[in-house]
């Protein structure tokens, strides 16, 4: 029995954290590599993997190699929380990138906060950085900004009465709420407000109701996954002849493929420079970085680059820059350095953090895109 116990103990110890490898910087991530948000988590995880290889091949950060520890939380908040504890307590990472969704991000925030580990989220909701929590940052635009960008464009076109059809998943529901809040700032009236479930196969009833509402001038569809593609197809099936706006949640070539060129024609959405890398003016500050990432990713994985992978790209760049600047892998020093990030150009926009802004992007980073002939064009 005694032998057994000591063997078990030894085995457990061996399974625990390996001896301190002082030369390495351990970075953790927990992403929705599988599950309902895998189209976010998958490119995010691949991006991190690729960039870590790149940085290590170029000699690491201040001569130290990066070790990336990735976990798949399947978009389950409880799992994300557990992996956060594992990363912090067991793997002893110095920083965490992750939380593909708002739910997973909010779930693990109390943990990073208690442990004092800097954390960069890849999720959309404004509730992640408002109010500002000391250790939490994020790279994607907030859903509120997406609403503002869309409404700005509607205002320019003289649209004032719109219908909304939102997904009931986290992304759609959160963006719907933000849009309803800021609509009046742009003189926009939401006169039809429908929704659909994340697995729904047909949205014609909701769209029929929107179509039948008098005075509607445009329709906005906050949501991600297959829903917006089906909405777009149903929209064209019903012959609705009004401008259709989608959210940044579907800013990828995949969306056009799913909706079909014909149905997607003329759809507008707020997107990032990444989607229009090829037609970006050469003097745009983002052109270089966007093209480099796109080329590398598409070469390595043989799949089109997506906005979401771009969020991970930016988070990693911000983190690396902060570690370099801090000159140490002390979590506290890294956090301070992230907060001092200024003018860092990423695929999503140019980041300037401060003590009361843990997103560091403004509306200018968003580009209003329109789908024409199965490709993206810049509206402004």
């Amino acid at each position: 029995m005694k032998v057994l116990a000591s063997t078990a103990l030894a085995a457990l110890m061996a399974a625990g954290p390996a001896g301190p490898a002082l030369a390495d910087i351990k970075i953790g991530s927990t992403l929705a590599m599988t599950g309902p948000a895998s189209f976010l988590g998958d490119p995010e995880a691949k991006t991190l993997e690729m960039l870590v290889e790149e940085v290590n091949a170029a000699g690491g950060i201040n001569g130290e190699m990066i070790e990336l520890i990735q976990y798949d939380d399947g978009a389950d908040p409880n799992k994300a929380r557990t992996f956060a504890v594992r990363l912090i307590e067991d793997d002893e990472v110095v920083a965490i990138i992750g939380g593909s969704t708002t739910g997973t991000t909010l779930a693990l925030m109390p943990e990073v906060d208690a442990a004092g580990i800097p954390f960069i989220s890849l999720a959309g909701s404004i509730s992640i950085i408002d109010p500002v929590e000391p250790y939490t940052f994020k790279t994607p635009h907030t859903d509120r900004m997406a609403c503002q960008k869309v409404f700005e464009d509607m205002q320019k076109r003289g649209i004032s009465k719109i219908g909304m059809i939102s997904g009931t998943g986290g992304f759609g529901a959160s963006m719907r709420k933000q849009c309803l809040e800021v609509a009046s700032d742009y003189g926009i009236d939401v006169i039809a407000d429908e929704s659909y479930g994340p697995k729904d196969a047909d949205m014609t009833p909701q769209l029929t109701n929107i179509k039948a509402t008098d005075g509607i001038e445009a329709v906005l569809n906050p949501g991600f996954g297959q829903g917006p593609a089906i909405v777009t197809r149903n929209y064209s099936q019903l012959g609705i002849d009004l401008p259709l706006y989608q959210s940044h949640g579907v800013a990828s070539q995949g969306f056009i493929d799913l909706a079909g060129n014909e149905a997607a024609e003329g759809v507008r959405l707020p997107g990032t420079a990444l989607l229009v890398a090829d037609i970006l003016p050469a003097d745009d500050p983002q052109t270089e970085i966007v093209r480099a990432y796109k080329t590398a990713f598409e070469q390595k994985y043989e799949m089109p680059v997506s906005t979401f992978g771009g969020y991970a790209h930016d988070a990693f760049r911000i983190l690396v820059a902060a570690i370099e600047k801090a000159g140490s892998s002390d979590p506290e020093a890294i956090r301070d350095a992230i907060e001092e990030t200024s003018g860092l150009v990423g695929t999503t926009g140019t980041y300037t953090f401060s003590a009361d802004d843990h997103l560091g992007l403004d509306l200018s980073a968003f580009k209003m895109l329109e789908i024409n002939n199965g490709g993206w064009t810049l509206v402004d």
């Binding site: 908040p77 504890v85 594992r86």
Partner: protein, 318 residues
């Protein structure tokens, strides 16, 4: 040593809970431990409903959702202490189970399954859609139970995960004690009787509808408390806690471990809680391996892991 006898089971559980921490290399293991205990508590409720009474529910996560959101919402809207909110949630779950159970439990087999499934989905849907109150799909923060603060004032500094290991461990022991009490009690016997033969149970005077309802209510309270504990520990909760997958997970844990015995079911909870943590080494093969493990266990150890292993060992000895 007879598997399932009350004192043995409690002793085994208590020893494991107390001794295991001596082997924990980091406080992450305490976190996994407390998740096992929380799931174990819910699964113990399933043992009462499914193992004793033979009724299958695919909607018990609905009660976990009620318990969890009671802890999130009651402190905000009623101004009560989160600990009291747990009790409010348990009472509410019991009351709802009482109301819903009577019509649902008239159904048998898969029909009961789909009706309870419908109930669970309705709860999850309410939690998702009534975002003004529940915070919607992105979840909601939960107030601090305050025990850590209290201990700190008294001069004890403990880590959150360690504290929750102890709290949930105690809750599991209490839950197991209750379930084991029930097993050998007149009520438990009547439940197992109606599982064995409903018609025979009726003819010896068992009010089958009433007893099924009692089992349903008790197991709902177990699920509710488990949901509350999860919410209080994470200090954050999303509607997933009430989701269909969580309901299925509860049943799977119980059946995989052995739904007939409390210890077996808790063992099942331990396996299915740790498996995803262990399987991370398989990276993208994780789900394939998980599915395979479930199938292999059920094919070759059909009564569940623990009972089958016990039988195997007994067979060896003889």
């Amino acid at each position: 040593m007879k598997l399932g006898s009350k004192h043995t089971t409690l002793l085994v559980l208590a020893v494991i809970i107390i001794v295991a921490p001596f082997f924990f290399p980091s406080s992450y293991y305490f976190r996994v431990g407390s998740l096992i205990f929380i799931n174990g508590l819910a699964v113990t409720g399933i043992v009462i409903l499914t193992g004793y009474a033979g009724q299958v529910s695919l909607g018990h996560a609905g009660f976990a959702g009620i318990g969890a959101y009671a802890c999130a919402l009651a402190p905000v809207y009623l101004g009560v202490h989160p600990g009291l909110a747990l009790i409010i949630g348990a009472l509410l779950s019991g009351a709802i189970a009482f109301l819903v159970g009577r019509p649902i439990l008239r159904l048998k087999g898969y029909y009961l399954g789909v009706a309870s499934l419908g109930f669970g989905i309705l709860v999850a849907m309410l939690l998702t859609n009534e975002a003004q109150i529940t915070g919607g799909p992105d979840g909601i923060r939960v107030a601090d139970l305050g025990i850590r603060g209290l201990l700190r004032e008294m001069g004890f500094r403990v880590k959150g995960s360690e504290l929750w290991y102890v709290l949930t461990g105690i809750c599991l022991l209490i839950g197991a004690w209750l379930a084991l009490n029930l097993h050998d009690s007149p009520t438990g016997r009547a439940l197992r009787a109606l599982h064995g033969s409903e018609v025979a149970a009726r003819t010896v005077g068992v009010d089958v509808a009433r007893l099924k309802l009692q089992a349903f209510v008790i197991s709902a309270v177990f699920a509710s408390v488990s949901g509350s504990l999860l919410a209080l520990q994470n200090r954050f909760i999303t509607p997933e806690v009430a989701g269909f997958l969580h309901s299925v997970e509860m049943v799977t844990m119980a059946v995989l471990g052995g739904v007939g015995s409390v210890l077996g079911a808790i063992f099942g909870a331990a396996i299915l809680t740790t498996l995803p943590q262990v399987l991370t080494v398989f990276a993208e093969y994780e789900y394939a391996v998980l599915g395979l493990v479930m199938m292999l266990v059920m094919i070759f150890l059909r009564d569940g892991l623990l009972p089958s292993l016990a039988k195997l060992i007994k067979g060896r000895e003889q």
